[in-house]
Every structure is written in C-alpha cells, then in structure tokens.
C-alpha cells in the first residue's frame, strides 16, 4: 500500500492506494497557520484501522517551503560568491550577508585567478559573529570545476556553521545567477523543511506508525525524506506537480495532452507528451527568484472557480484574485461558480445568493441575468484555453541549437484536454464545444493530486561533462570527478551517466525495477586546436523520467 498526500490551499487530500487502485480517500481542511496539524490529522485518518506495516511509503506534497519563500519567512542566510570575468556578482546580491570574493574559473574549468582565502575568512568571521548558521557558496563555472567552492567549504568548516550548501551540488546546469538563488533558497528553507518532517516522523513514530516518508518534488518525482535534507529546495512548488502526475494515468500512451487543474483562485496548466510531463528547461521561478530547481513546466493563470467577477471600464473582468468563496457558498463577490449556479449546472448551494451576485454584473452589462452568466462562463473558458495556447506556444518556441532539432524538432500539437480540480466537471462540455478538442475529467478528479503524489516515481537528473583534452570527467552534483587515462568515447560517457543516475535514484529511495532512465541532452564535439583534433568535449544530461511507479493502479 502507498499513501499520497497533497496539501492544498483549502483542503489537504490524502489517499490510500493498493495494487488495485486507491481505496480510501480523506479530505481535511488545511489549517494554513498549522500545516503540521493538517498533515498529521490527514495521515492519522487515512491509516485508521489499517495494518501500517503494509504501507511501503507515504509521499507528501506540501506548500511548506513554498509558503516560507512567498511570505518571506525564511531564515537569514550568508552567501559567499566567487565571480571572475563578466557581470559583477554584486548585481546578484540576494541577501544582506552577501560576500563577493576574488577568484576565477573559466568556461573549461581552468583556474584563471586563485581564490582569495583571506577574504573568505573575513566573511566567515563576520557571519559567525552575527549568528548566521546557514551558508551558501557559489562560484562562477563551479559546475566545470568545483575546487573554489570546495575550498571555501573547508575554510568555513573551521568556523562551525550548521549547514553549508555548495552551488555545484544543487544543479549541474550552467547559470551563475540562478545557481546563486538556488543555493540561497536551499539554505533558506533548510531548517523549516528539516524540522517539519522530523516532527511528522516523530509524531507518527510515537503513534506506532513507522511509515517511510518521501517528498514530492517540483519535477513530479519523489525523493526520500533523508535525501531531501541536503536538497530541500527541490520541494518548492510541488503542488502543481501532484495534479499533473494525477492526470497521467488518464492520458493516452501516445499523443500530446493539456492538463488543466481548475482551482478556486488559479488554473494550473501543464502539457503531457506520451504520458510524460514537459519540464522547464532550466528551473522554477518563484517570486523574485529564478532557479535551477528542476520542475514541470506549468503555467498558472489567475482564473478559477472563485475568481472575482467585476466590470471595469465597461468590460467584464475575471480574476486574477479570489476574495473568498462564491456567493452561493456564503461569499460576498460574484464568481464564475455563481454563474454556474445561474446556468443550473450546480445546485448544492444558495442559488438565490448566486443569482443576486450575477444580477449585479448583468445590470452593469445591461443584460438578462442568464445571458450575463453565460457571458461570464464563456469568458472564463476562453481565458483558460488562451492560457493553454500560450503554454503550448511557449514550449514550441523554445530555442534549439542544432540544425537537426530546428528542422525536425518535436512540435506539441495537443488534441485532448484533461481537467481536474474542484469545478472541473462543469467545464468539460463547454471547453469541448469552444476548443474542438476531446475534453474529459480525470477520474476521482477531487483527489487526483493526492493519487499523483502517491504513485509518482523517484526521479533525478545527472549532468555529465567530459573534456578529454583536460583529461577529466565531471558530474558536479554527484560529487563525481575522474581523471581520464587512455581512450574515452561517447559510449563510455553514456555508460557513466546511466550508472550515476541509477546510483542517485537508489539513494533517493527508488525501487530499481521502476527506473526509466533516458538521455535528455547530449552533445559531443571534437576539439580542434591548430587543425588537429586534440580531444573530445562531451555533455550529457540524463534523468529518470517523471512518471508513475508500476504495480499499482491509479483508478
């Protein structure tokens, strides 16, 4: 048995899944001021009367770290940054304790300027004196040569800081400013993440529930709680991922599908290609932070069932905010949900209150109330479809760097929409009518997010960089460096990449039989100096493809 739990803004959904599918589901109201209570009570309820020894794992998707960042309730973090030629790293000052020290590594990982260790020690002493406990260390091109970051960590170790995050371990991708924010966020949410899940584990243990805890990541994959401690940033924005994973089992094995998670405040849109979610090329953006945190590509639109409907300058405006529930459920502003009441699609609330709200809009538009309701619903659907079209355009306009990809590259052409979320079922027929696509709800759309979390496969990514002229193979995130002696081919690199992915996935809690490892980027260049081939430069990005684990039915 598996447990999937997804903490949402209003409800915390939890399901218990057996080999034949989910057989128990529970919803509890999310207490945003006390997520711990919500998670614990949901877990208690779902395990009531169950032999918990049969539970192989519980996957938790929470808004914990996301909330901490969005509400700026993060711990003070110290940053030590090594620049080198290019933009002045001061431009990326992300926090008050931000120290730029001298030193430089170039694009091939050669040291151009030695690290100024005295500056590092000065910064360390000042941060220590001011009580900073968590430090991020980032050097430009550290993914080509992490020696400066490693040296800084060694120096800092002498000062007894609680936790040090190094940039090259957070992502193997190039992007210095994003590496700075990624490392910063990891350090900033470290305590809140660790304390929360330790508390969950402990409380469960006290109740005799020794369930292995896994965490859902933004890329729609899972990792064990113990490995998440070193990469807490990966849990940021896992919410949309849960829903998308929940839709996968309803998607056809082949073809492009749009997933719409229509919620109260927003509609989150994602794309599945052959049952695999499309990922962000680099990483998530959250608030002012652009990161290298692997993530599904989602587009969040400020339109949902509870969006405020109003008239501005004679125009009907929907969203982007929610002021409370629909008037049919005791709210004070008209919403698309109220329009659905007027259109008699919904009837489990106060239809009179809904009608009153829509009447306000109808009066301003000079329309009969039914027409106004139709107009509101129509516009809501159109905005959602435009959002989907925007996301598809965005995916298809992603730049590529080879002739082959430009001419033969994959183009997303969706013909099918899967809808989930609270008001999902009311939207199906109309979305179908105006889009011409096949539109269906995801079965058990109310808890599909929790099912998605529960069944998500353990994922990870490895970036391998080979420079045979320098004689080095490097997978910075894995702390893997090897000197090359003798011949080294592309096939060797591929084998190493696969091996590293397998190891990393196992460490993250994967069951090996479920792994689907694939190469997602690969480039191999002959290095030519003076009309002579002097080496090979190989870059490989490999991953466990996000998807669902085997052996359990989703429906």
């Amino acid at each position: 048995m598996l447990i999937g739990l997804d903490v949402g803004g209003t409800h915390t959904d939890v399901v218990l899944i057996g080999p034949d599918g989910p057989f128990r589901e529970v919803k509890v109201i999310t207490d945003t001021s006390n997520l711990f209570k919500s998670v614990l009570s949901a877990l208690e309820k779902i395990t009531e009367g169950i032999d918990t020894l049969q539970i192989k794992r519980a996957v938790l998707s929470t808004t914990l770290t996301t909330n901490a960042i969005v509400t700026d309730q993060i711990e003070p973090v110290g940053m030590i940054v090594v620049g080198g030629p290019g933009i002045d790293p001061e431009a990326y000052r992300i926090c008050p304790y931000f120290y730029c020290v001298a030193g430089a590594i170039d694009h091939r990982g050669r040291e151009i300027d030695g690290l100024d260790e005295v500056e590092v020690m000065d910064a360390a002493a000042r941060m220590k004196a001011d009580g900073i406990r968590h430090i991020g260390v980032v050097a430009k091109f550290s993914t080509r040569n992490p020696s400066h970051e490693i040296r800084i960590e060694k120096i800092l170790a002498e000062y007894g800081f609680e936790k040090i995050f190094m940039g090259h371990r957070t992502s193997g991708n190039l992007n210095f400013p994003r590496r700075i924010s990624t490392t910063f966020l990891n350090a900033a949410v470290y305590s809140v993440h660790k304390n929360f899940f330790n508390a969950v584990k402990q409380s469960l243990a006290e109740k005799g529930l020794n369930i292995p805890i896994h965490i859902l990541k933004a890329d729609g994959g899972t990792m064990s709680f113990s490995s998440s401690i070193d990469f807490p940033g990966q849990t940021i924005l896992s919410g949309p991922a849960a829903s998308v994973m929940g839709a996968i089992s309803s998607a056809p094995a082949e073809g492009d599908v749009i997933v719409l998670d229509i919620g109260g405040t927003t509609t989150d849109i994602a794309v599945l290609i052959n049952q695999s979610p499309v990922l962000e090329p680099l990483g998530i953006s959250i608030g002012k932070y652009k990161t290298l945190i692997r993530s599904l590509k989602t587009y969040s639109l400020g339109v949902g069932g509870d969006s405020v409907v109003q008239i501005k300058d004679g125009e009907l405006v929907i969203g982007p905010y929610r002021k409370g529930p629909a008037m049919a459920y005791g709210g004070s502003s008209p919403t698309p949900t109220d329009a659905l009441f007027v259109l008699e699609h919904i009837d489990d609330g106060d239809a009179e209150a809904a009608r009153k709200g829509i009447q306000l809009i109808a009066d301003q538009l000079g329309l009969r109330v039914e027409y106004a309701a139709e107009r509101i619903f129509e516009k809501t659907c159109n905005m959602i479809l435009e959002g989907a079209a925007h996301l598809v355009r965005d995916i298809n306009s992603k730049p590529v760097y080879t002739v082959h990809e430009l001419l033969e590259g994959y183009t997303v052409v969706p013909a099918r929409i899967l809808v989930l979320g609270g008001p999902a079922k009311y939207f199906v027929s109309h979305l179908k009518k105006i889009s011409g696509y096949s539109v269906e709800t995801v079965p058990r759309w109310g808890v599909a997010n929790a099912i998605g979390a529960g069944l998500a496969r353990t994922t990870c990514e490895v970036n391998l960089f080979v420079d045979t002229e320098k004689g080095v193979v490097l997978a910075p995130e894995e702390n893997y460096t090897k000197a090359i002696r003798g011949a080294y081919s592309y096939a060797d690199a591929e084998e190493t990449a696969f091996e590293l992915v397998r190891k990393k996935a196992a460490k993250n809690g994967a069951e090996s039989e479920n792994l689907q490892i694939e190469i997602i980027e690969s480039l191999s260049f002959n290095m030519v100096r003076g009309f002579r081939t002097t080496g090979k430069n190989i870059r490989i990005r490999a991953q466990v493809k996000p998807g669902l684990i085997e052996g359990y039915k989703a429906l």
Partner: protein, 441 residues
C-alpha cells in the same frame, strides 16, 4: 535584478551539428564556449534581453539578393537558411517594435558572399546582412541603410552587393588587404558610378589596438553616419580583430568590442568571423550583448589581457589617422569624383576575377551598370566559372525608373542569344525573380 536599458533581441544559433569540414575553423565547436559563457552569465534571464528562435529564410529571400549558380539549393545547406533566417528574425522583431536592438549570433557567416554565388568563399555562401536588408526593404518602409562591417577581413561580399546602391552606405573596417585575405578593401574602392562614395573602406595596419579602432569609429565612421542619416544601422560583427585570433594580426580586446558597440549603437548586429573560440568569443560576445542592452560591461575582461602589451605603436597611430583622413576626404568629395567617373557615358563596365578559396572555384565577371540619375540603375552581370557555368544576371533595383526597368527586361530577353547556360532576373519593384535555363549541361 538586472534589466536592460534597451530591449535587446538575441538569436543564438550555434549550429552544433554543422561544419565546413571537421577541422575547419568554421566547425561545430566554434560557439560552444560562447554558449557556455552566455548561459553561465545568465544573460538570457536578464529582463528585456529576449531570446528568439531563428526563422528559416525562404528561397525567395535569398533570390532577392543573390544569383545562385546553378540554383539556391546547390550552393547552400540547411544551416545557411537558418543563419540568414536568424538575421531576418531580428530585423522583423525590430520593425515590429518588440525590441530596440538585436543580435543574430548565428553561423555560418556571410559577408564574403557576393551577388553571384558559385560556391563558398571565405567560409561564406550567402550574405546574411544583405538578405536581412532586402527583406526589410521589401516588407517595411526601410530605405536608407548603413552596414558597418567590423570583421577583421574586408567585407568584400557585402561591398559587391551594394557597390551600385546609393541608398546603402557600406563601411568596412579591417586589417589591411596587403596582409590578409581577401586582399581587397582599399580606400580607393568607393562604389559604382551611381553610388560613388557610399562604399567606404578603412584598412587598418596590423597590430591596431582598441585605441586606433575606437579612434576610427569616433572620427571617421560616426561623422559619416551622422551625415548619411540611415533608417537603420547594421553591424557585421566579426570578432577576429581580437588579439588571440589565430587567423589575423590585430590587438583588439573584449572591452574594445563592447566600447565599439556602445558607440556605434547598431540596430542589428550579425555575427561574422572570429575563430579564437576559447580566448575571445565567449568574452567578446558577452561584451557585445551587454553593450547592446546598455548594461555595464566593465567586468568582461578576457584572461591574459594586458593593456600595456596591447598598446599600439606611434607608427600605427599615425597610419590610422592618415587613412581616416583619406576616407573623410573621399566622402566629402564623392559627388565631384562621381561626376568625373561618369563623364558622359551611358553605361559603365567593370571586369573582375573572383577566387572562391573554400571551394576552389575561379570566376570571371563583367558587370555593366546603366548610368542613371533617377534610380540605382539597371545592372547586368556576365559571370563564368571553371565549374563550366556561364550565367547572365540582371538586376532591376528597388526604386527603378521606367527606363531602367525596360533596360533590365531587354537584357534578360536577349540572354538566349548569348553564351549563357542560365539567365536570372531580379525584378525588385515587383519582387519577382525569373530564371531561364538556356542550355542543359
């Protein structure tokens, strides 16, 4: 958070799967380290630096500029269509006001490609800048264009295409042709009899450094641009003046390139040559992108740069000043000089031999321009190459007068009686491109 002062478009197309041949300077690896630097600096995340996917140029876009022998597809690869298309993408984004400036960081390059194309010369098959300019002239109200070629090699292809066009000011700044391929680009190459003085060449002595280069920009190029008042400025942004370039002998730096860009303020820059792929290109391109965006580039200093060692000698400084004076004087006197060349002739002929170094093709060319005060003049080109092709190309310019239109068609109609295996006509006013196959080879 960084934000660009000028909205800057960027087409980055390194063509990682295309090479002239495996060890050629124009190979897959060329922009690899540039990509690493651009990605690592996070340039594409800067607000208002916008990356565009390149468009693919159409056959028509190429025919609007070139006479390709025997046809467009025989002398190009897919990568050429993308490279030219990338330049067009930037032009269109500029005209649609999506961006203030654009940089097509594309390969293969194009500035050695002339109007007639029998093959590859100087690593170039088709002229990306000319394809861009003529696309803009066709689709937008663009008339006067300045192309400033800062590649270390003379932009002889672009010069050839605009030799007879008084609406295009072509200025090439390069290492003296007596010391470098293609061996042309002297101050007395000033354009045809209808466009005299709108071709200008500034051959700089070897070992010119930032100082001499920027002197030329400030004292020669900018005053001439000021007077010409182009609708748009295009920079053929070759990066081989760099002190580490393996093919040239100049002493320009990444800071110099960024300074040049800041002063020149090109609307669109298009990458040309530059083969110091590790020591120069990553830094020069970073500098150019930051300068275009109006951001601080002072930190972009390449490893090994030593200002004192790169300082130019007094001789070089003197020579540069002398060359600048000649160019300015030619510019000032261009109308009188044009009158002298024309005399009272109706047509002026020019004969040349053209070497295609990459493809080892030898071309003999004769062109004839109709002297005209009302338009750029009808142009006839007779070109034969040791590939066996002998073609006639006729151009009727964009704003052709009725007489030049008539002359163009007359030449084209008569081609069948000549020695040609193919005849081409560019009817620019109608945007029509005609071809006749006269002999099967």
């Amino acid at each position: 958070m960084l934000k660009a002062h000028y909205k800057t478009g960027l087409v980055f197309f390194p063509a990682f799967d295309w090479a002239i041949d495996p060890t050629h300077p124009e190979r897959e690896e060329r922009l690899l380290y540039t990509q690493d630097q651009v990605f690592e600096e996070g340039l594409l995340d800067i607000e208002d630096i916008i990356e565009y996917k390149p468009d693919i140029a159409s056959e028509m876009d190429i025919k609007r500029v070139h006479f390709c022998v025997p046809d467009v597809f025989s002398v190009t690869t897919k990568s050429h269509f993308i490279s030219a298309g990338g330049a067009v993408t930037m032009g269109r984004a500029l005209m649609e006001k999506e961006i203030d400036r654009g940089f097509a960081l594309v390969r293969p390059p194009g500035h050695h490609s002339m109007r007639v194309v029998h093959g590859n010369r100087g690593f170039c098959n088709i002229n990306n800048e000319a394809i861009l300019v003529e696309y803009l002239r066709r689709h937008y109200p663009v008339k006067k264009v300045a192309i400033v070629d800062t590649d270390c090699h003379h932009g002889d292809g672009t010069q050839d295409i605009y030799w007879h066009d008084p609406d295009t000011l072509f200025i090439s700044i390069h290492q003296d042709g007596r010391t470098l391929y293609p061996g042309t680009g002297f101050t007395d190459e000033l354009g045809g009899a209808n466009a005299f003085g709108t071709t200008l060449n500034i051959p700089l002595p070897p070992l010119t450094s930032d100082e001499g280069y920027l002197y030329t920009i400030d004292h020669v190029v900018l005053p001439i641009l000021e007077e010409f008042k182009p609708d748009i400025i295009i920079n053929s942004a070759g990066q081989d003046n760099h002190f580490t370039d393996p093919l040239t002998n100049m002493n320009f730096s990444a800071q110099g390139y960024a300074d040049l860009t800041r002063r020149l303020k090109p609307d669109i820059a298009v990458l040309e040559g530059g083969y110091s792929i590790e020591g120069a290109l990553p830094y020069v391109n970073t500098g150019i992108i930051l300068a275009l965006a109006g951001l601080d580039y002072k930190g972009v200093v390449e490893p090994g740069y030593d200002a004192a060692r790169m300082a130019q000698s007094a001789d070089v400084t003197r020579a540069i000043k002398g060359i600048g004076d000649v160019v300015l004087s030619n510019w000032k006197n261009r109308r009188d000089m044009q009158e002298k060349i024309r005399g009272n002739r109706e047509f002026i002929e020019r004969r040349r031999n053209i070497m295609y170094d990459t493809d080892m093709i030898y071309e003999m060319q004769k062109d004839e321009i109709r002297i005209c005060d009302d338009c750029a003049g009808a142009l006839k080109i007779d070109s034969s190459a040791d590939t066996g092709h002998h073609i006639l190309g006729v151009q009727i310019p964009v704003h052709a007068c009725p007489k030049c239109v008539e002359q163009g068609y007359e030449w084209f109609d008569k081609a069948s009686t000549g020695p040609y295996d193919r005849a081409f006509l560019q009817d620019r006013p109608k945007d029509e491109y005609l071809e006749k196959i006269l002999k099967q080879r």
